[in-house]
């Protein structure tokens, strides 16, 4: 059963702003799912609809097998909003306990879980200090702990690494991987594409209130798989059985006088004719590198227009 299976999610705010236009999204059980998109794309609105913070105009589908909008399912969901704010009078330990109680976690279980979670997010020594004394990164860590206090099957994190230093980001990635290892589903909404790329099994890219691409990173970048052959003394163009391959301008850091030839394939055997042709032409092969589009390349290609401008998000 999918953790999230949404169809036809639309949201039109007062004033006619269409934040979501028929979103369909699927997050499998036990996977890390990255939700990407520029500002105003509708990511937060979608997450808020899932968490019952915003009422959808239309929405069908399920979350952990229960209809969207069901309160009962929230007992099994952990959520960390983007700009969360904890009561200033609480300590980190009290924050975790309070949100655990709101999730109906029994007191003795909360006590044990709180200790485990403080350890997990590296805040054991800070648990009894008020949250107002925390840095942004520490607040994020406590927020993640609070999102996990009910032992959720689905964890939804909105910008979890926002304000967190590189070591902290690595720790959070480790937590996400650990959650996946425990069979939980994790949905991460983030601007840090490299972070998402490192851990996400599948991603969706949203723009203008629609999902414009969805799948594994491999599926989405399939067309961009290639081998780059760097050779010196090669010809302007290679005539291969599959078609001609023109030499491209040297890549940054390439050896002086070297040329780069891109063979669009993901199979190593398809590169051999090009290597043979270069050798036949007396060229020296410097390196052969398998390459593909990065998530950032894919994202930028999806949300930037022909003139390189960011496409606007929500639209009237």
């Amino acid at each position: 059963m999918d953790a999230i299976d949404l169809h036809d999610v639309t949201k039109t705010y007062r004033g006619g702003v269409h934040a979501l236009r028929g979103v369909a999204l699927r997050v499998g059980a036990g996977e890390i799912f990255g939700l990407l998109g520029p500002n105003g794309a509708g990511k937060s609105t979608l997450v808020k609809i899932m968490m019952t913070v915003v009422r959808p105009t239309t929405a069908t589908g399920t979350i952990l097998g229960q209809p969207v909008g069901s309160h009962d399912v929230l007992e099994r969901v952990g959520y960390l909003p983007e700009h969360h704010r904890f009561p200033a009078y609480l300590t980190g330990r009290q924050v975790i306990d309070f949100f655990g109680a709101l999730c109906k976690v029994p007191r003795d279980v909360r006590r044990t879980r709180t200790e485990q979670l403080l350890e997990l997010v590296g805040m054991r020594d800070w648990g009894d200090r008020r949250v107002t004394t925390y840095s942004k990164g520490m607040q994020q860590r406590i927020g993640i702990a609070a999102a996990l206090v009910n032992d959720p099957q689905l964890v939804v994190l909105d910008e979890p690494t926002d304000g967190v230093d590189p070591v902290g980001r690595r720790d959070i990635r480790d937590v996400l991987v650990r959650l996946r290892g425990e069979g939980r589903s994790v949905m991460v909404n983030s601007h840090l594409l490299s972070e998402v790329e490192m851990v996400a099994d599948r991603v969706a890219i949203m723009n203008k209130g629609q999902v414009i691409a969805q799948g594994t990173i491999d599926e989405l970048t399939h067309a961009s798989h290639r081998y780059e052959i760097e050779a010196s003394g090669g010809p302007e163009r290679l005539d291969l059985p599959g078609g001609p391959v023109a030499a491209e301008p040297p890549a940054p850091g390439a050896a002086p006088g070297a040329r780069t030839y891109c063979v669009r394939t993901r199979e190593a055997r398809d590169v051999q004719p090009a290597i043979d042709a270069l050798r036949a032409a007396g060229a020296t092969i410097v390196r052969v590198t398998p390459a593909r589009e990065t998530l950032e390349d894919l994202f930028v290609r999806s949300v930037v227009d022909e003139r390189g401008r960011a496409l606007p998000g929500a639209a009237r």
Binding site: T52, H71, D72, Y79, P81, F86, L90, R107, A146
Partner: protein, 354 residues
């Protein structure tokens, strides 16, 4: 139950972190301590054992318990609990709803398995905590002072605690509605105080007009009685002047009555803060043998009555309030107003996107 307890514990922690909460409790305790430091004997009043002689304030005029009860009545109820403590409670709790619906905070709350109606109402009830704790501390301390210093134990005093909470809840529901609409603590506090002032003025106007109506009714009755007395002594007596006076008073009574019923209707649909305090005083008179409060308006002479004594007028106003302004009218209709206001709050809270 776990959720409700958590929200109440959170409210306690919130109150506990506010200096104003402890300051208000300390002032409440101090006020009662000062009253406790006062004493009364046959010669006059004592303050911390120092004698201040008085011809009017001594145990010959006031039994010891009456002295302390009068202070509780005039200072405790009419000034401290219904004005200062209520304002302090409003200042302390005006932020509860705006903070609940603040961005970043509301997301965390609504994403938990608790319905919006329950979440809002539970948070609102926790706001009554402040007034409740304050009233409980003050009344308990007063109970001890009246018992230890006055020599009379009056458990009926504790009726003031729920009444003060109800009184505060009239204002706090308006505060919650404004907080929900504006998301601003300052706006909700100031506009609630303005609302309270308007309600206070409406009740004072109703009370004033009612005083005029009752005074004129008594005047009419007195003139009619005077005519009857004269005619019973001499059937041929000249009562034309009295009849003319009677006609004028009846005309006046008609005007007072036509002004009164709209004022009464307006006050009926509003929360009755002054009336609730007055009702509490009447309850303490009957349950805890407090003295009847004098009619504070003392508007008898203002109304130009010549035939009705001030004391009779005060009694008539008191009896009128006791018969017509009972608990159902005073608190029942106020609670209806509160229910309607809270209903509007819940409706808004359930429908809003955050």
């Amino acid at each position: 139950m776990t959720q409700t307890l958590a929200i109440f514990l959170d409210a306690y922690r919130d109150l506990n972190s506010r200096k104003l909460f402890w300051l208000a409790i300390a002032i409440s305790g101090l006020v009662v301590l000062i009253v406790g430091a006062l004493g009364i004997n046959e010669a006059g009043v004592t303050v911390l054992g120092f004698q201040f002689e008085s011809k009017f304030v001594n145990t010959l005029f006031f039994p010891r318990d009456t002295f302390y009860k009068l202070i509780f009545q005039s200072l405790g109820i009419n000034i401290w609990l219904t004005w200062f403590a209520a304002i302090l409670a409003l200042i302390s709790t005006a932020s509860v709803v705006p903070e609940l619906v603040a961005s970043g905070s509301i997301d965390m709350m609504l994403s938990k398995p608790i319905t919006r109606t329950r979440l809002f109402l539970t948070r609102w009830v926790t706001g009554l905590f402040f007034a409740g704790i304050q009233a409980l501390v003050f009344v308990t301390a007063s109970f001890l002072v009246i018992g230890l210093r006055g020599g009379v134990w009056e458990p009926a005093l504790f009726i003031a605690v729920p009444v003060v909470i109800v009184f505060f809840s009239y204002l706090y529901c308006v505060c919650a509605l404004i907080g929900l609409l504006t998301r601003s603590t300052v706006a909700s506090l100031l506009l609630t105080l303005v609302f309270w002032l308007l309600v206070f003025c409406a009740q004072k106007a109703e009370s004033f007009i009612n005083g005029g109506r009752i005074a004129t009714q008594m005047e009419v009755a007195a003139i009619e009685k005077a005519i009857d007395v004269r005619l019973s002594k001499n059937a041929e007596a000249d009562v034309d002047k009295l009849r003319a006076e009677l006609a004028q008073e009846q005309l006046s009574l008609g005007k007072w009555s036509s002004a009164y019923w709209p004022a009464y209707a307006i006050v009926t649909v509003l929360p009755k803060t002054n009336e609730t305090t007055a009702w509490l005083e009447r309850e303490l008179v009957s349950r805890a043998r407090f003295r009847r409060p004098p009619n504070e308006d003392e508007n008898m002479r203002f109304f130009g009555s010549n035939r009705v004594k001030q004391k009779d007028f005060d009694d008539a106003v008191y009896d009128d309030a006791e018969s017509r302004k009972n608990v159902w009218w005073t608190i029942g209709t106020s609670v209806l107003f509160e229910a309607a206001t809270l209903g509007a709050c819940v409706w808004l809270f359930r429908r809003r996107d955050f």
